[in-house]
Symmetry: D2
Subunit: 305 residues, 4 copies
């Protein structure tokens, strides 16, 4: 069945960080300031309260405040997506329909993961079907095994891709073979967004429509440059830019996580600020490593505007 | 530094399930009925809202209701422990001190786990130290890598074992070598409780003081029988009972999880009831397998009283 | 330092199977018949006695006979590569120089792997450096973690890529992110061959020069078609062909291994024959699955000529 | 069916190292000197050419020489076991019957492992059955997943335990839960030997009859002391000795492998000597760590006699 949605997800979406003040409270003014700057960069839209947004460290009232702040601050031509998954199917439905009421274009719903061994294909399909049946906005499935220990494979994506309310997925596994298999299993209007800057070019070559990228919080222009080279297509340029972004992603995101990314944002004129415990700020060695990575990307990528 | 607490955790604690009615709401009357029956079995106490209690599927208000119901129902000579961990350090502190206010003897605090790669020794020690400094009741660390992907190793346990407010830990890894190493690293008054019925006897032989066991929800007497044989010590009997309990645990708990355990409880005269989605009730094949496992344990273990 | 070798490895190399007669002995006539048919397909050359060649199941005298048979049978314009690795550095040197003496163009040398924990970067670099210093023909490193549990990462490849006698590597990990990182770490004349048909297109897009593929034993034309579409570049066609080949590779190679591949070869007019124990011939269910996979690839790919 | 063999494997067997001279050749005089000293320690017998014996780094002719040297040097009341496994079923049969002809009491046969995914229960049972049918001496199965990536589980052990010529197994997995399950699945006269000093006491408590231990090459007396405390039973002493041996085993064997063990042997008056490449001698940091571990075990364990 064709998707009723006309939402076109082609392009780059930063997976936004959630700014905190030094006392640990939400720093929504800084959040708005970051968004104002991102709005000038040519991005397709934004993901709020995803893994990079430290959503699992926010309570329900804080989630509301972040959702509202983004909704009020973002330009109307940008696509707004909210991370709205939860361990419990009922809680996930409640969150999805809350962001629907707030005017979000789509919700990103992560696999439940605490009871890993129970999250087999049958349980995942059932969970997401209930969600999709109840949701008042389109859903994007979210597979991020490095955090959850649970991956959405091609069989699950294929079964859910038939649902008119499941318009696509974010695959952050970094597994290009799985991307190939998923794209072979879903309808042509199912939109796959890659969730790791390290595999953006090959994933686009294989049919992904875009990326939802933590790295784009710090380096939106560099991510867009690679996206455009891949879509051109200019494989020679894309290859070189992909090598650069993979190296940067390894250090800023894979190795040093949200704290590393926030530090890089601070260095580049965004508000990064402290992570929330149990995440710890990066130490001196990590800062040095990140500084070197940014320097090697050169002025055009790494300097504040 | 010696522990100020005189809490003696020797013995068997069931990791209680949380009963739900068919409409998905809490079934607290059934919870109380289960507790009344457990109170006659010779158990040392109870853990509520742990992994087996589907705590990650309860909202904050439901947690309160379960904590209150157990507190009111349980005999005063039983040790009550509440699962009170959270991804965020701040939320975990709030939960621990809430169960302290409700009169719980101790809180079990699981490792944060979403940002797995960041949960290195430094971050874990820092998280638990902040908790232990702020907590108004003693803490038990909780390592359950099959759910979290994060394990507490001997170095982390050793560093935290010095804190006067960390009186022990529950290790559910099933890794007996790690139990040996942890016990070599902590002070003598640090109490290790094993979290898996499959390794109860060898863990007790190595110095663990007891167990916090999902299997004890369905088979409290069998777990107690093994505990006593191990403490006697009667190694010949303990060996045979351990083989039986490991086999039962594989099927009821490891393979079929909370839904399998709840089904077994229903079969044995307790209230098991449905799991909460995304957990699905066990199907016909699993029910058959569990029935066979209970039958092979014989009347004395498996028949309702 | 530039490579003295002018060996151009661009193209597709089947990782040849080793034919056995029903009594378990080498079936070299069938081996030659397969080679005669492959010689007409437009392949760049051949790998003998690799993982697909069941090299670990051959004794030293059998290896000699296979090396000699291939050398005598293959057309002179085809590049002949021999798998010549061994657990022991000394034995690997002996094998490499033996195939050198037989006239092989290059040797493929797998990582030692029995003492996995000891095969860190230092040990791997030292092992391959000694080999490269002693070898009288150019070397290709071989990383195949699904068999060995040991992977060659970008740091090791980068260190060895400087050696004039290491002209490239075969990466069978299926990890496209690693391919990107390796290509960013090696000199421009270091030739990367992908070892899995499932990631041929994205690897070529990222700069690999070709593939050494088990699947090409059964489906050389289909592999060549994808190779050419990727080199054109015709990304739309390459994407479709890649999805088809990944599906075929999953079934014939990943799931059913050498026995599955040999069965498919039998079905397509090559000599597959039995695997050598402990490998077991595929059963009825696997044969049915492979038949269906071949049928779905259509006449042009799957029918004998 | 009862085992025809009357071989009683109760006790401690060192998994002997293979001494090499500085030029890399076999140092059989040193091998004999080590054996003469071991013969005075109260060990049950010896395993030659196992994983610790660097068997995968020896060629066939060297294996013969080691087998012969041990056969000639060892006291007649000691049980001699030879590692005789191979990737190919046929080669394993040949090796087993060669050591049978040399007078070995039993052969230890490791799981084939290169084609890991194919080594399912069916293939393992078939491989070992063919071996057991053809072997002229009793067999011990060998499960060592840290080297092979393949484990023998309870179902495979149970199926093979019925064979009259399979008298037991060496389980080096360090997984005590698996030991429990295996012992529940095999006939009472099937003898399980644990392959890791780190789990000797709990494994003996659960019904293992002894150990085949790398650590016993350096510390035979300490291993025997733990064995006797466990058999007494003296659980309090066994617990303390187990903690000490696990700590030593972690450093000498798990962390630094055969090179670490050989260094420790050199320090304790045995001949350790260099490992064979690709294994590298331990560096200064490892030597320091091993020295400290030996010192912490005290004079009685660590000083040369």
């Amino acid at each position: 069945m064709a998707k009723p949605s006309t939402l076109d997800l082609a392009g780059i979406f930063p997976a936004l960080t959630t700014p905190f003040a030094d006392d640990g409270s939400l720093a929504l003014d800084s959040f708005r300031a970051n968004l104002a700057r991102y709005d000038r960069a040519g991005l397709a839209g934004y993901l709020v309260t995803g893994s990079t947004g430290e959503a699992v460290l926010l309570d329900r009232e804080e989630l509301e405040r972040v959702w509202g702040a983004a909704r009020d601050a973002v330009r109307s031509d940008k696509i707004l997506i909210a991370g709205a998954g939860a361990e419990s199917t009922g809680e996930a439905i409640a969150r999805v329909n809350r962001v629907a009421a707030l005017g979000y274009a789509a919700a990103l719903v992560v696999t439940p993961s605490y009871y890993k061994a129970a999250m087999n294909a049958e349980a995942l399909v059932e969970h997401f079907r209930r969600l999709a049946d109840a949701a008042r906005i389109p859903l994007l499935l979210y597979s991020v095994p490095q955090f959850t220990g649970v991956a959405i494979d091609a069989a699950v994506a294929g079964a859910l891709g038939e649902h008119p309310n499941v318009i696509g997925m974010k695959d952050s596994s970094g597994n290009v073979q799985r991307v190939t298999e998923i794209l072979a299993s879903v309808p042509p209007d199912f939109q796959l967004l890659v969730g790791s800057a390290g595999t953006l070019f090959p994933s686009l070559a294989l049919g992904a429509v875009g990326g939802v990228l933590a790295l784009a919080c710090a380096l939106p222009e560099a991510c867009l440059r690679l996206y455009r080279a891949a879509r051109e297509p200019d494989p020679g340029l894309a290859r070189v830019l992909q090598q650069q972004l993979l190296a940067a992603n390894r250090i800023l995101v894979s190795r040093h996580g949200v704290p590393g990314l926030k530090y890089a944002m601070d260095r580049l004129g965004y508000y990064g600020g402290p992570p929330r415990p149990p995440l710890l700020p990066v130490g001196a060695a990590a800062r040095h490593e990140i500084d070197a990575a940014l320097a090697s990307l050169g002025q055009s990528a790494a300097s504040p505007r």
